[in-house]
Symmetry: C2
Subunit: 121 residues, 2 copies
């Protein structure tokens, strides 16, 4: 088991079922990735818990040394360009020994074109 964690961070919705969709997706990603990541979880910026900060701190509590953050956002709005980096910078200043990697947001993935293409079939 690695000491690496993956946190999928979504916007969060007032609609509970939308947040459940994200959590289920996280569960399904976890089922695929248990070898590379010791821990896979979902977090939210608004309207749902845990927050991104809470998720990161929970990983650190568990002894995780490396955290990869994947923004589950279609577009690079302020949440992607400002809010998520701010949370990470804040954590880094308190826990400089933890390696935190911020991935590009979902919508920028080259795989998105392929996925839409598959869905259009």
């Amino acid at each position: 088991m690695s000491d690496k964690a993956l946190i999928i961070v979504a916007h969060g919705s007032r609609k509970a079922s939308s947040n459940e969709e994200v959590r289920t997706l996280g569960d399904n990603v976890r089922a695929l990735r248990d070898k590379e990541y010791a821990y896979v979880t979902t977090s939210f910026l608004e309207f749902a818990k845990p927050s991104l900060k809470e998720s990161i701190l929970s990983c650190i509590d568990k002894g995780i040394g490396e955290i990869v953050i994947l923004p589950y956002f279609l577009a690079s709005g302020h949440h992607v360009t400002r809010d998520i980096p701010e949370v990470i910078d804040d954590i880094r200043s308190s826990y400089p020994q933890i390696k935190i990697t911020l991935k590009a947001h979902l919508g920028s993935s080259t795989g998105m074109v392929r996925l839409l293409n598959d869905m259009a079939k």
Copy 2:
């Protein structure tokens, strides 16, 4: 060339660059799918043009007989469950001869798990 069109419908953003991200994605999907679809375009529910209704009417003007609509949404909120179907029902009542298929929203695709998995590597 088929007489089939694909319309990718996104929420739309006040941030012009976010709408451009969607249009570029549409361009890239178009590049892959020119054999199955005579026409691939993007449309928006808010803040950007063309609207979904405008896109559908434009397809009908072009003589397209079959339109596939793919909601570029991560969660099945009101836009997916109510607003998009309402536009489609409205068009269907005026143009019953046009076949319109509404696909499931992006976030519900089984390929999304694989995409996140690939991105987490």
